[in-house]
């Protein structure tokens, strides 16, 4: 189970960063087009907004898996390992709640703007895409955080989920 969850999270991250690279290609194309043929890509700003939002959300589960969220560990340096594990379990739980709330409510938001027929200004793309695109990343991040919380509380070594490479 750990391996499957880890692999899925890694794919999300690779896809997320690749989406940012794709945005970079699109923007460069648009700038070159604007400079040479006076023809930027129509709606490049909208595409950047959507692409980067998707990119970020896909990156979140990996950040969670690697424990890369910033914490203040100055005040707890002297505590014993089991106590620190329990605190980290609590921290993972707090994040899981945050991810769950955002994933759930963003999905509801997607339905709202879909039912209202909202679209983007220039390209007329359905607005709900922006909302719906965020849900999978937030949802997977919630799952990862819950597994981590369980591992911390069970005093299991969290690096078993992280793996070693990459």
């Amino acid at each position: 189970m750990f391996r499957a969850l880890r692999a899925l999270t890694l794919w999300f991250a690779l896809l997320g960063a690749a989406a940012a690279l794709a945005v970079a290609v699109m923007v460069t194309w648009s700038v070159v087009g604007r400079a040479i043929w006076l023809e930027p890509i129509q709606g490049d700003v909208e595409l950047t907004q959507m692409g980067i939002a998707l990119s970020i959300s896909l990156c979140i589960p990996w950040c969670q898996l690697k424990g890369a969220n910033i914490i203040v560990d100055f005040f707890t340096q002297k505590l014993a390992t089991p106590t620190i594990r329990r605190l980290d379990g609590f921290g993972a739980l707090m994040l899981a709640i945050m991810y769950a709330l955002l994933a759930w409510r963003t999905s509801v938001g997607a339905v709202s703007v879909m039912e209202a027929y909202e679209s983007t200004m220039i390209l007329g793309l359905p607005m709900w895409w922006s909302y719906a695109a965020l849900a999978p990343g937030l949802g997977l991040a919630c799952l990862v955080a819950l597994v981590q919380a369980w591992m911390h509380f069970a005093q299991l070594d969290p690096t078993r989920l992280e793996g070693s490479a990459a």
């Binding site: 006076l38 023809e39 700003v45 938001g109 209202a116 027929y117 909202e118 679209s119 200004m121 220039i122």
Partner: protein
């Protein structure tokens, strides 16, 4: 006990709308309710979210009161969009009156869960450019122009320009760098972003024609919040909303125009006044937008043709009244 209404809007406090519309309105309802009701102002989106989300926020009761532009959410208010078509509206005051009547007659169902207190449009929009003057229709060719709404985006395309989408906050910077060559905006917003300092040419269509474009505004309240008020406080809100308020706000927009325009005159910017004949050419070039709008509504099984006619008739009626007064 005191009722606090969370009033969320897009402008920084020093802008024209908070100073001349929102602030006075809040003072008035406070006074008329003997301070049993007041606004808690959340300027410049400080309550969170994005401007397009304001319509959902007031519907859902996140905010109690908002002022926003239906045009921010393209496709959501297809009926009210009629006032954003080119060469429709002649002044903000007339546009405000017509849009209120039109809203009452046709568009109430576009705002479920929301109590609309006023609707209006801004003062006429014009063409402003930084280095290349627009003297005639052909001059749009190759110009990168920033468009504020879906309809102006289409309009600029029809006129021959390349429309670029960006928030109004980015216009000054984009202009100074040549990312865009110009923009369309009404005079009212120009001083707030110091755009007159970035522009060299202002092309104004013939004043005998309706405005090149306008964009609509709504002043909205959460319906449930309104319903929860005791009868006497409801009455205070009722007394400060509707046709009268809409018209008055439209007037404020019209009145802010000469002052803003004077700033550009004083700087020695070049003003280009289009002849009636040239304005006619622009109007012809963009006329197909009306048909597109009608088709758009018909695709949603709405009587687009009648509604367009109604909007035009209402505008004509208030234009007539305005002229009669003069």
């Amino acid at each position: 006990q005191e009722v606090v209404l969370k009033f969320h809007h897009i402008w920084p406090t020093a802008a024209m709308a908070p100073q001349k519309v929102i602030g006075p309105w809040c003072d008035k309802i406070a006074a008329e309710s003997n301070n049993r009701m007041r606004c808690q102002l959340l300027p410049a989106m400080s309550g969170g979210g994005t401007p397009p989300q304001l319509v959902d926020r007031v519907k859902d009761g996140v905010d109690d009161l908002v002022v926003t532009l239906p045009g921010y959410t393209a496709g959501r208010f297809p009926k009210m969009e009629v006032f954003e078509l080119p060469f429709m509206v002649s002044s903000a005051e007339q546009g405000a009156q017509a849009s209120w009547d039109f809203y009452q007659k046709h568009a109430k169902d576009e705002f479920p869960g929301t109590k609309i207190l006023a609707t209006w449009v801004h003062d006429p929009g014009f063409v402003h450019t930084s280095s290349k003057p627009v003297n005639k229709l052909e001059d749009f060719r190759g110009l990168k122009m920033r468009a504020p709404t879906r309809q102006t985006n289409k309009l600029l395309g029809k006129l021959g320009a390349t429309p670029v989408g960006m928030p109004v906050t980015g216009v000054a910077d984009a202009l100074s760098k040549g990312t865009i060559d110009g923009y369309v905006l009404p005079w009212e917003v120009i001083p707030a972003f110091k755009l007159h300092e970035m522009s060299k040419y202002h092309t104004e269509t013939d004043p005998g024609h309706p405005a090149l474009y306008t964009a609509g505004f709504i002043f909205a309240m959460n319906q449930a919040k309104y319903d929860s008020l005791p009868a006497d406080l409801k009455k205070v809100i009722d007394n400060n909303s509707g046709a009268q308020l809409s018209r008055q706000i439209g007037k404020v927009w019209d009145e802010s125009r000469p002052m803003a325009r004077k700033l550009a005159v004083d700087r020695g910017n070049n003003f280009i006044q289009l002849s009636p004949a040239e304005t006619d050419r622009w109007q012809k070039a963009s006329a197909s937008l009306n048909e597109e709008w009608v088709k758009d509504l018909e695709r949603r099984n709405l009587p687009g043709k009648e509604m367009l006619k109604d909007a035009q008739d209402l505008l004509a009626k208030y234009k007539g009244e305005g002229n009669a007064k003069k």
